[in-house]
């Protein structure tokens, strides 16, 4: 189809689509009147049963923990997939064009002030990330959000220094192993319940005292595993794209790290 044809066809279709969607939405209860019962039941029982004050985290890592397991693996496999898709082929080992003539390729090195500021940010950032990971069962946050925050720490190193030192901290093999360990850790925690003779992903650890950091049993453990996986996963994702972008500026670099 040419552009006009496609446009006309689409506009007619989308009018019908919009109409049936709106028709469906009219069948929902009015906004602000959540009908329940799923959420209401959990709001009532989750804190007592799981000793976690953040019900969303309790849902994520316990009641519907199997969903989150799948979600972790979506992230896991996307990182693997992106690594695979961004891999360097044999034909472009050093990605050609060594005779790069454009002088403006090398960005100006960050000034010392910027450098100091960014480096000073790293410590608090890591602490903040860890805090979010560990307090998931108490306050908003958890392994997922904290993990992404943790992943920004190596990025700050990149901003302060350059890709080479970024590469040094984020030893590819190690980060890959960390990612798999996070995802595998989640699976393993699930197995504990099975080994003890109950169900997969059963929360079998001591629940602790509500409101304390080591409360809520496996929820905290899973949150930490998730944090590890997410942090490593996002570092790998950003690494993949950064490498694609920056290899020339740094004179080639080692490449995808694997054959």
């Amino acid at each position: 189809m040419n552009r006009t044809g496609r446009m006309v066809f689409f506009l007619i279709s989308v009018a019908g689509f919009f109409a049936i969607y709106l028709w469906a939405l009219r069948g929902l209860s009015p906004f602000g009147h959540y009908p329940g019962p799923y959420g209401d039941v959990l709001n009532k029982v989750a804190v007592y049963e799981r000793h976690a004050t953040d019900v969303v985290t309790a849902v994520n890592f316990d009641y519907r923990g199997f969903d989150t397991l799948g979600e972790e693996f979506i992230l896991f496999i996307s990182v693997i997939g992106a690594t695979l898709l961004l891999r360097r082929q044999k034909s472009e080992t050093e990605d050609g064009d060594q005779e790069d003539e454009s002088p403006n390729r090398t960005a100006p090195a960050p000034s010392d002030a910027t450098r100091a500021l960014t480096l000073a940010l790293i410590g608090p950032m890591v602490l903040f990330g860890l805090y979010i990971v560990c307090h998931g069962q108490l306050t908003p946050g958890g392994g997922f959000q904290g993990g992404v925050i943790l992943a920004t720490a190596p990025l700050l190193v990149y901003l302060a220094g350059d890709f080479e030192s970024f590469k040094k901290i984020t030893s590819h093999t190690l980060v890959e192993a960390a990612e798999a360990a996070g995802a595998g850790g989640y699976l393993l925690i699930g197995f504990i319940g099975m080994i003890l003779g109950t169900f997969y992903l059963r929360n079998v650890f001591a629940l602790g005292k509500t409101g304390e950091v080591n409360s809520s049993g496996t929820i905290a453990a899973i949150s930490i595993a998730t944090g590890l996986e997410v942090a490593a996963g996002f570092v790998l994702l950003l690494y993949g794209f950064l490498e694609q972008t920056l290899e020339i500026r740094l004179g080639g670099g080692k490449g995808g790290g694997k054959k």
């Binding site: 689409f10 969607y21 939405l25 953040d54 019900v55 306050t139």
Partner: protein, 118 residues
Amino acid sequence: MMHFMSFFPYAIAAWLFVMGLYGIVTSRNFVHLIICLAVLQSSTYVVLLSIGYRWGGVPPVFAGPPVGTPAVDPIVQALMLTDIVVEATVVALLLALAVQLHKHTQKLNPDELEALEG
């Protein structure tokens, strides 16, 4: 106002879905198209959020307010968390494909690609 509000958030969700589709169909650049897909996805956030909302409800975090305070639905929020991860990962995969496509063809416009006709 209350009456208006009882349907308005849902309509926003439908609108975002339609806009996302529009962007995808008319896109001239795969990166633009991928971003439109993210807009389309935000429609699902809005619809989930609206379904689980309750007037005057507190967030489903009972660190401050005692259990039993009317709260919004925690389930949709858990679903949205999954949804957000899905968004990030799908965008990452699609971008990786688009980057490679451009590397090999120097093209990103779907109108200019003709490799797969018939």
